[in-house]
């Protein structure tokens, strides 16, 4: 048994990592829980830590780009986190998955990097994208006609010609491609941890480098912020389909959470999987993807956090001279949809070839709402560590469950979201028994005040985690950019700590009574699939049209 020792206060994207957040290459290491500042109770012990809040240097460029810097000179390395305030939340119906697909495309290079001759390549790409779009349109028409019973459509010859043309263009365009050149340059110069991640609220691009290679980073990143080129589009869409199969369709947790989340949100885009619905991914076009980039990837929607062995003045000059030349763009359009009040419990099942598990979620406010801090405490009291209420009762004492965890910002942070408890029963106990035991503990939050000792434990762990989060350049950069993007200010973390410290037992009783109620609840259950009975019911594989 592993002790779950991290306090998952706000902004923990942990659950998102497994179920909502989609990454370019592989899963990121777990994000550090929190960050910055820290007045330990024995503040005299921690002069550096306490002063770290003062070490953040903040700068905003004329085009709206925000830069945050922290000097750490122990090792001649630097970590950079470039975060855009865009994600699945910004997608429209039938274009789900486009934020994540663009993130993949952002590694395909620019007008200079990744190409042997952009001018010649460009003509081919334009033509390829026209033909590809037309081909897919025709293929869909054919499929629809075939389904309607008109097997002999006159379009068949057109289709073959288009297919031929598409193949040929794709091949010719391929001759100009220098595959993965951007990543190659980073790696050659000692870069590690190159990755990117797309979530509901934000999209992030990470790299760590020897400190003297920042000019390489600035040149590459400013270039892709200004002039990305969508090359190898159709192949990369295939890669994303494989990613969806891997993370969602072949994963019991992936399927459970996709279904559960879609049931919990009926209107708001939080209900849509970040990776996108399969049919949408396969229908995304280069034109729509480019449009998405133009709308959401302006400098005013970006934050750069740099932590490491740097001279801030020099770094700012470097950034002004590169990113500073990118023109400002209009603000990204706001998300208007608001999830309507839930009026009754929703229950969904997923049948899968795996042992059972369950998720219970309640709608709650997003970042900045006073009740959100109270949920941070509830989350910690219930599942943080082996002495937490749910772990000690369900796993240790009653032995009903093999595991129980919770998350207070699922699947995103910015908009009203869900407080979710997840558990796996221990056989022969059932999901029903585990669900009943969880609900019993949630009821207790309403009737009995949480003890002073429990609250003290929460705060001790929060403060210690804040210190620990300062250990790594990459972790600190991630935290700074995260808060800046989702809360509008990195200092939010300092304020949040004090708000959490001020939460009282009465607050917890009030919030539990208000939100943790049946009509506000969604329950998702993974049911072990029968060996033969349900086999016929598996969905037909959706054909990929253009590969």
């Amino acid at each position: 048994m592993k002790t779950k020792s991290r306090l998952r206060l706000r902004l923990r994207l942990r659950v998102g990592l497994t179920f909502g957040l989609v990454l370019l290459l592989f899963l990121l290491p777990p994000p550090l829980s929190l960050s910055l500042d820290l007045n330990l109770s024995s503040a005299a012990d921690a002069p550096q830590a306490a002063s770290l809040a003062d070490r953040v240097i903040e700068h905003k460029l004329a085009n709206g780009l925000t830069v945050l810097m922290v000097e750490r000179h122990q090792t001649p390395v630097v970590s950079i986190n470039l975060t855009f305030g865009v994600g699945g939340i910004n997608e429209q119906v039938s274009r789900t998955g486009i934020a994540h697909l663009y993130e993949h495309m952002a590694f395909k290079g620019t007008r200079t990097v990744g190409t042997r001759d952009y001018e010649k390549e460009r003509e081919l790409l334009d033509e390829l994208h026209r033909v590809g779009t037309e081909l897919e349109l025709k293929q869909r028409e054919m499929t629809a006609a075939a389904q309607a019973g008109n097997s002999n459509t006159p379009a068949e010859t057109t289709l073959e010609a288009l297919q031929q043309r598409f193949k040929e263009l794709q091949e010719r365009a391929g001759h100009y491609v220098v595959g993965n050149e951007m990543a190659l340059l980073y790696q050659r110069h000692g870069g590690v941890g190159l990755n990117a991640a797309t979530g509901k609220d934000l999209t992030r691009y990470m790299i760590s480098l020897p400190a003297n290679r920042l000019p390489l980073w600035a040149a590459l990143e400013a270039d892709r912020m200004a002039h990305p080129v969508l090359r190898e589009f159709y192949k990369e869409r295939g890669v994303v389909m494989e990613e969806r199969r891997l993370r969602t369709e072949d994963s019991p947790n992936g399927m459970l959470f996709e279904t559960f989340t879609a049931a919990a949100f009926q209107a708001h885009p939080y209900g849509v999987p970040t990776i996108g619905w399969a049919s949408d991914i396969q229908a995304l076009t280069p034109t729509a993807t480019e449009e998405f980039f133009k709308t959401y990837y302006g400098p005013g929607n970006a934050t750069i956090a740099i932590v490491g062995d740097i001279n801030p003045k020099e770094v700012l000059a470097l950034i002004e001279n590169t990113f500073g030349n990118i023109p400002a763009s209009p603000p990204a359009p706001p998300v208007l949809t608001v999830e309507p009040l839930q009026r009754g419990e929703r229950r969904v099942e997923v049948e899968f070839d795996a042992e059972p598990s369950l998720a219970i979620g309640y709608h709650k406010p997003g970042i900045g709402h006073p009740d959100d801090y109270v949920f941070d405490v509830i989350d910690a009291v219930l599942t943080d560590g082996v002495t937490s209420r749910l772990y000690s009762r369900l796993v240790r004492d009653k032995r009903l469950a093999a595991s129980v965890t919770s998350d207070t910002n699922y699947p995103g942070v910015r908009a009203p979201n869900l407080f979710v408890v997840m558990a796996t029963p221990r056989a022969p106990h059932t999901t029903a028994e585990v669900e009943a035991a969880i609900l019993e503990e949630l009821e207790r939050l309403k009737t009995e005040p949480v003890s002073a000792k429990e609250l003290e434990k929460v705060l001790n762990n929060l403060d210690a985690d804040l210190v620990r989060s300062l250990r790594s350049n990459a972790g600190l950069a991630s935290q700074l950019a995260l808060y800046q993007t989702v809360a509008g200010e990195w200092r939010y973390v300092l304020k949040a700590r004090d708000r959490i410290a001020a939460v009282t037992p009465a607050d917890i009783q009030r919030v539990a009574t208000q939100y943790l109620i049946k009509s506000n609840r969604t329950v998702g259950i993974l049911v072990k699939k029968g060996n033969d009975k349900n086999k016929k019911m598996t969905a037909l594989p959706s054909g990929e049209v253009t590969q």
Partner: protein, 491 residues
Amino acid sequence: MRLVRGEGVGVRGQIPAIAVMLLAIVGGQATVGSAGDLTLDDPRRMKFSPVEFNPPEPERVVLDNGLVVYLLEDHELPLITVNAMLKTGSWLDPADKVGLAALAGSVMRTGGSMRMSADQVDEELEQLAASLSISIGRESGSASLDVLKKDLKRGIQIFADLLRAPAFDPARVELAKLQAIESIRRRQDNPGSIVGREFVKLLYGSDHPTARESTVASIQRLTRDDLIAFHQHTVQPNGMILGVTGDFEKGAMLTTLREVFGDWQKGEVPDLKIPDVPEGEASLSTVRFVSKETTQTHLRVGHLTIKENDPDYVALAIANDILGGSSFRSRLFNDVRTKRGLAYSVGSAVRTGTHDQGIWLMRAETKLASTQEVINRFVANVERLRTEPVTDEELDEAKEAYVNSFVFSFTSPSAIVNRLMELEYDGLPKDFLQQLRDKVVKLTKEELLAAAKKHLHPDRLKILAVGPGEALPRLLSGFGEVKEIRLTPEG
């Protein structure tokens, strides 16, 4: 494996897909000052001075009872970390009690000590926001304590008590057994978990200490007395290496360590020996599948290989880096993912240690229909690596990536200390990493080709696929005689 250290880890515990190379370093100060006309600079032509960096040198002390201690002060934050490596492991499990070592490690942490009950230990650690873990793996045990400086005394006392005199509270023994049985029941839930474990069994044989797995029956057989005896016989001060980093003063720390560990009596330390797989079995090519209702075929293709202290290790590791170990830069990534769009996660790895034979493998997950194409690309890329030298550019890229990222091996005091502990545990010299770097710099294309020829064998491939059982036999039939591995549901 120390040469190619995974940065991003794939699906849990599998092969690191981004095997970023970490090497030593060296380098100058940033030349950022000349940033004036950077907009005009072409990133493809930038040159930088090497990174110069002298990592701090930990101190090594041996206590009278043989306990080895590495210490490295780091006063940036008020935290102290103590890591331990223990000469114990599941290679010691008796054949009818597989799971013993792992269970012993788990209950050493959760079962309380002679001084404190299990509940008291949990309560106190969590109130102090300390984290303490103990576990026993295949070839070593490990323990770690992470505390705020102000809580060092309490934390280290509990840490030492649990290591020296764990109480194995019967209720916690029972809980750990039930949890272990439940996780056995859940082993077949994820295709990634199945393919990873079954592939190791296919390579070593399912009874080999590296591959064997506990069963419900083997766990049920374990008693509290077994755990007590296992701890008594295998956890000894003279089989332990401690690494301490953080905000302390060396002299005072040594005094504290002597207080809590000094009167622990020496014992007989078990010998870490793992048998090699007989040559005949290892060299047979086999094709197997596991039937599971999935959308993708989860693939592993490879065979056993050399150990880390083999003279050819560096050449093989760099050859593999070019083949599929270096994510974006590698041939498999470019061929299977970028050019063909057939997989999200694809690559190869040389997973080696010094105690058992290593594994070389290629992996991917791809939709059922492209299964054959991916295996064909695997084979074609291996053949190419064995028959033609890599390009100068590929070799330069691999070397530069290794040398320029070497500094990342030294980015934290605990990383520096942990490496020294591992090297000592494995009987390797403390400058092993620096030696590797020097060898990498000198590697030639011819050496890579020779290593690939000698150590990669397309005629000995073990192919394992997890996916739809009605389709796989036909898809795999071109690669050899196909047999099914039937998994029996347990519990």
